[in-house]
């Protein structure tokens, strides 16, 4: 524990210097014969790299899935993780990443003028396809964000089940907001608030640095905090993984209920055995469940309405609304300064009424979007609660398909697995 704290403090102490922004240097302010270089556009990246990236992604996904499901080797998973961190993280500088690709997909759906690159489509869909069949093998070691957190998870602590579930709501909120902002053209918030991209690129502003340190620092004690309690893409992966038929199993054969796997899992993603009989009062519980189901549409309506009342505040993140607000403040004499955006707008000669009309259109989109988001979040929470009324009988320990990131740590701890491996090597462990 002490070492973990020491390590954390060290990062906090050193990183601001390492990641401080490069300052612009002013030009010489009188003629010196120096000629300013002509600004040039960087040459576009060769298209072949797009296909290489897709190929690497597919290869990494296939390899790690094979390691998890067939080889059942945590060590192999770890090395794929290192490779992914270096390639998709530091070499590719964290972009394009599957997590952020959600926004591109949404924008492509809502903006016909946006041409989505094939790489983005691949990065969005390939991990989901794998999750649909094999569980979240992408999270296990191909996602550079997950890999980075996995490495710094030096002293993972157990968190209460209820806390995991409550914090598990956050990715839905984040996903909903990301979709709302991308659909309205307000921006890509997942990328804007990506805590790791600055590390991959060796440069970030102070706010991003603090955010990155908080997430990584938390990751020392709470395993993969971003993956579990923030990552919006994980929501989609959870849904897919729930349907997977070839998910990682902890034991190769029958579980002996030794409980070692459950304690080894830093993500609390292993469900223990449960009795056949429903422990609570069945009649009362049925009534409660019925009330919950009936309440779903009502809560969705209230939630949708409530969030839509804040739609104007959300819409302020859109540049059109932001500019229109500034122009209105200037025009009504409420501010005596201008901004770059307002000056640029006035330079266009467009009448303010046109800008206001566009702002109104954006606000109407946000109104609808926040309605839907509010209803969606209410539905998510209600389903989560209802899920805890449903009792499933289990004989042994099994991975929770939604939350298990298929890291294969549990496999290493399973005595049955050890026995299997020993048998393969011809060793009798009992003797």
């Amino acid at each position: 524990m002490k070492k973990a704290i020491f390590f954390l403090l060290l990062i906090i102490q050193l990183a601001p210097v390492a990641f401080s922004q490069v300052q612009r240097f002013p030009k010489p302010d009188f003629e010196s014969g120096y000629e300013q270089p002509v600004p040039t556009q960087p040459t576009p990246r060769a298209a072949v790299w797009d296909y290489i990236d897709i190929l690497v992604l597919i290869s990494a996904m296939s390899l790690i899935t094979w390691f998890i499901l067939k080889k059942r080797s945590r060590r192999s998973v770890f090395w794929v993780m290192i490779f992914s961190l270096l390639y998709f993280g530091f070499f590719k500088k964290g972009c394009v990443c599957s997590v952020g690709s959600v926004q591109n997909m949404v924008l492509a759906l809502f903006d016909s003028a946006y041409a989505i690159p094939i790489t983005v489509v691949a990065f969005f869909s390939i991990p989901l396809i794998f999750a649909l069949f094999f569980g979240r093998t992408f999270c296990a070691g191909v996602c550079p964000l997950g890999a980075l957190q996995d490495i710094v998870g030096l002293k993972p602590l157990k968190t209460p089940a209820w806390l995991n579930q409550v914090l598990g709501i956050v990715p839905y909120i984040y996903l909903g907001l990301a979709v709302l902002f991308a659909a309205t053209g307000a921006g890509f918030i997942i990328c804007r608030y990506d805590p790791f991209v600055g590390i991959f690129r060796f440069g970030m502003n102070s706010n991003m640095f603090i955010w990155g340190v908080i997430v990584l620092g938390t990751g020392v004690f709470i395993a993969r905090p971003y993956c579990r309690f923030l990552c919006p893409y994980s929501v989609l992966l959870r849904w897919m993984s729930l349907l997977s038929r070839h998910h990682l199993t902890i034991t190769p054969t029958e579980c002996i209920n030794c409980h070692l796997c459950s304690e080894s899992c830093p993500y609390d993603a292993i469900a223990g055995p449960s009795s056949e009989k429903y422990p609570g009062n069945v009649t009362t519980e049925k009534w409660k469940l019925g009330v919950m189901i009936v309440a779903i549409p009502i809560v969705m309506l209230i939630s949708g309405w409530a969030l839509s009342q804040l739609s104007v505040a959300f819409s302020r993140s859109h540049y059109v609304v932001k500019t229109a607000e500034q122009i209105r403040l200037e025009d009504t004499g409420q501010v005596n300064y201008t901004t770059d955006a307002s000056e640029a707008f006035r330079g266009t000669g467009e009448p303010t009424t046109g800008l206001y009309a566009r702002a109104a259109k954006v606000q109407e989109q946000f109104k609808l979007g926040t309605w839907l988001l509010g209803a969606f979040l209410a539905l998510v929470i209600m389903i989560k609660i209802i899920n805890f009324y449903i009792w499933k009988h289990r004989d042994g320990y099994t991975p929770d398909k939604a939350f298990c990131v298929s890291c294969a740590r549990c496999v290493d701890y399973c005595p049955v697995e050890h026995e299997r491996l020993a048998e393969l090597k011809g060793v009798n462990l009992i003797e």
Binding site: K3, A4, F6, F7, L10, L14, A15, V17, A18, S20, V22, Q23, F25, I151, L154, K155, P160, A161, W162, L163, Q165, V166, I169, F202, H259, L260, S262, E263, S264, G272, P273, S274, V299, A306, Q309, L310, S311, V312, A313, R316, E325, E330, D331, T332, G333, P351, T353, Y356, A357, A360, Q363, K367, G374, A378, I381, M382, K384, I385, F388, Y413
Partner: protein, 560 residues
């Protein structure tokens, strides 16, 4: 790895690695922090030495030696800056590598020390499930409550920050009856100077205080007339120092709010030239019961809600005339109608009252005008009637389409038209009083040439036309034929426009004396009431009350 001896050795190596790496990290970090602080605190380009050299160069621009000195120092500063930057970049990479080594060392150590997890739980805990359920429910309730609370707390701000224009049904358009009961523009409802209420006192005296309910100061000078909506009076004031809009309690004269109209984009850099008796706030305000609107001699046009919150403001153009802009505003439903006849440009326009958005704009081939527009309802269709040299023109207020025009005016047109029973009456000194019979093809029904007004407007009902003048005459004519019934000469001339109140006509002269006479073919003076001060505005006629504005006072008349 399973051999304890080997583990011990690896453990020792790891410990040393961690120690060395940590020392390295601390040293580099000290170096870094120092370098970083130096880079932040030192601004070599703005060093006193360089600043001094710049100053010296300013006073001796041809000194090449000085230039070389500055260049050398400048180059030195840049070299120092980029060297430090390189150090930071390189050091950053070193730090990163060191951190990775540290993480790996910790990780291996952690793996070596890994203990078997304990066995303390064998079955899914029912209490855990109940607890999770409870917390999830609580989280949902908290999230929803916070959202609702925020929605309630920010409701007003959100409303005002919204660009979504409320639908028409949300902003009520006052009915004709509501307009009639109020005094929403210059010369009252539809700017036609016919009062809805007739229960006013017929006598008052500013000297003795007879029937003077209250008198209050108006904070800033203005020659515009008050307007009234419900229980509030609105007026504007302006001078070289500023432009303002005021709201008074009509019951007791209390100043409810006053708001400046300033920092208007596009406002002229220099104030326009205005005459002393026109000033910077001659145009009367208007209202639709949702907002009040004011225009000034600068061309600044402002909209406030009834509580004094500024809704929008814009400059509509720089008025170019030799007295000062004085055409008053008028509302047609939710449209603010503006007459802007200047020396260099002339147009009429309609703006959306709620947003200021231009709905239509019709250029005019007219000369200057100081007249104010009126609204006339002809065969259930409203017309927007505007006077200027040389034409009286009727427009469709919804589209700005010109419906008709009559060439009958000349000179400097200030009086506004009057409308009654299908006739528009327009007059101006050096021109004629023209009675225009509206129809499919408007025609000049009759004309009258004597004792014409040059400032005040005329007023008419279905039987008579009453025409005061600046020289103290009041002429009564037959509304249909133009036959003169009587001509009365008073001691002082009239700038304030007359108003018909039931069976009486009220006209205030230049000395602040209101002449009240019967609206009849026989002249009969009913009363001459002195306000006790000079006032040239047109009075507001309300339920049992009359409101006058002098340049600096607001006076309420009512039965005591």
């Amino acid at each position: 790895m399973s051999n304890p001896e080997t583990n011990k050795k690896i453990y020792a190596i790891l410990n040393r690695t961690i120690l060395i790496t940590s020392i390295f990290l601390i040293l580099v970090s000290v170096f870094f922090v120092t370098n970083y602080l130096q880079l932040k605190s030192n601004d070599p380009l703005n060093s006193p030495a360089l600043e001094q050299l710049y100053k010296n160069l300013d006073s001796d621009p041809n000194n090449d030696m000085l230039r070389d000195q500055i260049r050398s120092l400048d180059l030195l500063a840049r070299k120092a800056y980029f060297t430090k930057q390189w150090q930071i970049n390189t050091g950053g990479a070193l730090l990163f590598i060191a951190i990775i080594i540290l993480v790996i060392a910790f990780k291996i150590k952690s793996n070596l020390r890994q203990k078997d997890p304990g066995l303390n739980k064998l079955e899914e805990n029912w209490d855990d499930r109940l607890m999770t359920r409870k917390w999830l429910s609580l989280s949902g309730v908290i999230l929803l409550s916070v959202t609702i609370l925020l929605a309630i707390l920010t409701n007003r701000e959100m409303e005002s920050a919204s660009f979504i224009v409320k639908k028409q049904k949300d902003l009520p358009i006052p009915s004709e009856n509501e307009v009639m009961k109020n005094w929403p523009a210059f010369r009252g409802p539809f700017s036609n100077a016919i009062a809805y209420y007739t229960n006013i006192p017929l006598t008052w005296d500013g000297e003795t205080g007879e029937n003077i309910l209250w008198t209050v100061d108006v904070p800033r000078i203005g020659f515009n007339s008050p307007i009234l909506w419900d229980d509030r009076l609105y007026m504007s004031g302006a001078d070289e120092e500023g432009q303002e809009v005021f709201c008074f309690n009509a019951d007791n004269g209390e100043l409810i709010w006053r708001k400046p109209v300033s920092n208007v984009p596009g406002t002229p850099d220099e104030l326009p030239d205005v005459t002393e008796d026109t000033g910077f706030a001659a145009p009367t305000m208007t209202t639709d019961g949702n907002h009040v609107f004011a225009i000034f001699a600068t061309g600044d046009l402002a909209c406030f809600d009834m509580d004094g919150n500024q809704v929008w403001v814009k400059n509509i153009g720089h008025p170019d005339n030799h007295y000062g802009h004085s055409s008053s505003l008028i509302m047609y439903e939710n449209l603010l109608l503006v007459q802007f006849d200047q020396a260099d440009v002339a147009f009429v326009t309609a703006l959306d009252g709620a947003t200021g958005e231009e709905k239509w704009k019709t250029p005019r081939d007219m000369g200057l005008s100081w007249s104010s527009p009126i609204l006339a309802k002809v065969d259930d269709q409203w017309q927007f009637v505007v006077n200027a040299t040389p034409n009286v023109v009727g427009y469709n207020p919804e589209t700005g389409e010109e419906l008709w025009r009559m060439d009958c005016l000349s000179g400097e047109v200030a009086p506004s038209s009057a409308y009654a029973d299908g006739f528009v009456y327009a007059a101006n000194d050096n021109a004629i009083l023209a009675a225009i019979k509206l129809g499919d093809i408007p025609e000049l029904a009759w004309e009258y040439e004597d004792d014409l007004p040059d400032v005040c407007s005329l007023v008419a009902n279905k039987d008579y036309v009453f025409m005061p003048s600046s020289w103290g005459t009041v002429t009564c004519l037959d509304a249909k034929t133009g036959e003169q019934y009587w001509l009365q000469e008073f001691d002082d001339g009239f700038y304030s426009s007359p108003v018909i109140v039931g069976e009486y006509v009220m006209a205030m002269d230049l000395e602040g004396v209101t002449q009240i006479f019967k609206a009849d073919k026989e002249f009969e003076l009913v009363a001459s009431n002195s306000l006790g001060m000079v006032a040239n505005s047109t009075p507001v006629i309300a339920d049992g009350r009359i409101y006058f504005r002098s340049t600096e006072k607001l006076i309420c008349i009512g039965e005591k």
